[in-house]
């Protein structure tokens, strides 16, 4: 270390190279990433990939509650994990799917400000939750009282997203149907707030395994286009 200048230059160069290659250039090239059109002949599909955006309003609730601490949104290829073979983790809800769910790709998260790939996998992966999600009413029950669905669950009860209110007149058509143990006192009902509604919409919109243009999966799916 002959002098201050050389030393600082050394520090800058050693860190600058990975900074440039790993962060700056990829971040700038990412800006050019756009949806790709399906080829009607090859893929058998029309429109653009990825076809449907996620529900951004509900994602804000997901973000602020820190759901990504326990739920990932990323399917790994089969050589790294069995994610793809888990029942119902993709579009195919069959008992035993013929092919594994395809691993997630960069474009699947297009349009999201920050992809919530997740910190740990305490609960199941939610990348393609929209396909296997139950009806909205049951989803609300799961969010309001997770242990009414699975008594071993370690998921927090998001009762702050619901309102317990006195029944005035007929019972609200949005009111949650809960087992007695988890329900409100008699004469009261539990209704979702708009935040809970948008969170559920977001969860239902999580479908990240649309066929990729030009890939064999797209060809296979062409025989049986997405219906749901």
């Amino acid at each position: 270390m002959t002098n201050f200048r050389t030393f600082i230059l050394g520090l800058a160069a050693s860190f600058g190279l990975p900074w440039l290659c790993l962060i700056v250039i990829p971040a700038l090239t990412y800006q050019q990433l756009t949806p790709v059109a399906y080829d009607k002949d090859a893929d058998g599909l029309e429109g653009y990939y990825p076809p449907a955006p996620i529900n951004g309003q509900g994602q804000l609730v997901y973000i602020r509650e820190g759901c990504n601490q326990c739920h990932t949104q990323m399917i790994r290829p089969v050589q790294l994990g069995l994610d793809g073979w888990y029942k119902g983790w993709g579009q195919d809800q069959e008992q035993r799917a013929a092919t594994p769910v395809r691993p997630t790709e960069l474009r699947d998260y297009l349009g999201e400000k920050y992809a919530l790939l997740g910190v740990q996998r305490v609960g199941p992966d939610l990348a393609n939750y929209g396909w296997r999600a139950p009806a909205a009413a049951q989803l609300h029950q799961h969010l309001y009282a997770p242990r009414s669905v699975n008594d071993w669950s370690s998921m927090p009860a998001y009762s702050n997203l619901y309102k317990v209110q006195k029944i005035q007149g007929p019972v609200s058509k949005h009111a949650l149907v809960l087992p007695k143990k988890f329900g409100p006192p008699s004469g009261y009902e539990v209704v979702p707030t708009p935040e809970a509604e948008s969170l559920v919409q977001y969860l239902l919109s999580l479908k990240k395994d649309y066929p990729v243009p030009g890939q064999s999966a797209a060809v296979a799916a062409a025989a049986e286009p997405a219906k749901k």
Binding site: M1, F7, Q69, G81, L82, K87, L106, S154
Partner: protein, 492 residues
């Protein structure tokens, strides 16, 4: 500078006076950072207990939405990183740099204090915001967007005088390995911090790449900020207390530059097999393993330096903490390598071993080294000695057992979770097995954090007594296992 042999007595006296003047010049900011940091540390460990409890029993303190696991865990980590970690690191950096460069802090003391106050206010607001539901869910950057420019400016207020000291005192023939690390930390942290925040908050949205950049940010802050400060501490205090020069200049230099070159590449392997371009995760995995080289070089150097002087560990509290921290450096390197390599990482991905890595590097290695530094620095600044051997000893043992428990348990839990996840028989099962199998490990984590919180409470009280000048008035330092100190009267 570490040892001053064959100097005449007048020189020694002048030297001591000069050191006293340097200590006096940095006293206010350094003590400010240490006490506030210790407060955040205690808070963070308490939040850690709560988060672990909530992970096992989500209905604990039911009806309080502010402490659901998804909000508590980020608050716990942010308090540990920004409340304790960065503040304590800045205090140690400022003191070591002033001492090593032989420079007094000339001016700007009030600016430093102001920056410290703003840092603490911002962290308080940020962590409260996370608990109130304003989290960004960007790991380690969960505090709301407006906090980062303030934190950056506050950090630069400290980094600038530290870098100036280095610049003024550099001697071409000098061998200043601890200050290399500290200058590196000063220089890299703002760079990493700006990069991650601009990319994640200011650019129009990077999707999955943003998640990769966040993973890179976490690794870079650990490897290029916390690790250099911890290693800098070890390089300063091990020779100082054992009285031996650093064993090898070549090893020191190689250890530093390999860390500098490799540190910036790693991180994205957190999302191996994910949507990121494969070369990014591959290069992160490769460097994550290659980082064993600097880790090994530094570990070897420390081992050679301390060779034959291990008995000093029994008496000096500083050396004991620093030594333990230095032992945990190779351990954190190993945990990183295991998480990084595709071979083991595919099982450990998205499991508690990720938490294990954060705790071992931030607490086992960095914090333990910094505790050692604090036990050395504070008596010199406050003009009194540590009150109680017992408090120090308790702090040490509770921390050692607590941290080891968390690190080992989280690693084993990670292995278990990975095995469950990749068990073909679970393909059509729900998550009951995963949840039930990982529960005991989280319980042990809660217990360990509770022990650590207890020791941190004692540490905080001890430190506060020292800072207000209620320490022992004595010319002899407080040493562990030396009988005349055991029975020293505690002057209040």
């Amino acid at each position: 500078m570490q040892t001053t042999p064959d100097t005449s007595e007048t020189d020694l006296k002048a030297d001591n006076l000069r050191r006293a003047a340097i200590d006096k010049s940095v006293k206010a900011p350094v003590l400010f950072l240490f006490t506030n940091g210790a407060f955040w540390l205690m808070l963070s460990t308490i939040l850690g207990v709560l988060a672990a409890i909530k992970l096992v029993e989500p209905s604990f303190l039911d009806g309080c939405p502010y402490i659901s696991y998804g909000r508590l865990q980020p608050a716990h980590i942010n308090a540990l990183v920004y409340g304790w970690g960065v503040q304590a690191a800045l205090g140690v950096m400022l003191w070591i740099m002033a001492r090593r460069s032989g420079q007094e802090l000339k001016s700007g003391k009030s600016l430093l204090i102001t920056a410290g106050v703003f840092w603490n206010i911002t962290i308080t607001v940020g962590i409260l915001a996370v608990l109130m539901g304003k989290s960004t869910s960007i790991e380690w950057l969960e505090m709301p967007e407006f906090t980062w420019p303030i934190l950056l400016v506050c950090f630069l207020c400290y980094a600038w005088p530290i870098a100036r000291m280095f610049g003024r005192a550099i001697r071409p023939e000098g061998f200043m390995v601890s200050t290399w690390y500290i200058l590196g930390a000063c220089f890299w942290f703002p760079w990493i911090f700006i990069t991650a925040n601009v990319a994640l908050h200011c650019l129009p949205g990077l999707g999955a790449l943003g998640a990769g950049i966040d993973a890179w940010y976490i690794h870079a802050v650990i490897l290029l900020f916390f690790v250099p400060v911890g290693v800098g501490c070890a390089y300063y205090f091990i020779p100082k207390i054992t009285g031996q020069p650093i064993a090898s200049a070549q090893l020191a230099s190689a250890g530093f530059w390999t860390l500098a070159i490799l540190g910036g590449w790693t991180g994205m392997q957190k999302y191996m097999g994910g949507p990121l371009p494969a070369w990014m995760t591959a290069i992160g995995a490769a460097t994550g393993v290659l980082l064993l080289i600097p880790v090994g070089l530094v570990g070897l150097n420390h081992h050679l330096t301390a060779l034959g002087k291990h008995s000093a560990v029994a008496t000096s509290p500083t050396l004991r903490f620093v030594f333990f921290g230095a032992l945990f450096y190779p351990v954190s390197g190993l945990v990183l390598a295991m998480n990084s390599a595709f071979w083991t990482g595919s099982g450990l991905q998205f499991t508690q071993s990720w938490y294990s890595f954060q705790v071992v590097s931030l607490y086992g290695f960095f914090s333990m080294s910094v505790f050692g530094a604090i036990y050395y620095i504070v008596p010199r600044l406050s003009g009194c000695e540590w009150l109680s051997v017992r408090l120090i000893r308790n702090h040490f043992w509770f921390s050692v057992y607590g941290i080891s428990t968390i690190v080992i348990m989280s690693l084993v839990a990670g292995w278990q979770q990975g095995a469950d996840m990749n068990n073909p028989e679970h393909w059509d099962q729900n998550f009951m097995n995963h949840v039930l199998n990982s529960r005991p490990y989280v319980v042990s984590r809660a217990v360990a954090w509770a022990l650590i919180s207890f020791s941190n409470l004692m540490f905080l009280l001890h430190l506060l007594l020292m800072v207000v000048g209620l320490g022992r008035r004595s010319s002899a330092p407080t040493l562990l296992y030396s009988h005349h100190d055991e029975h020293a009267p505690a002057h209040a």
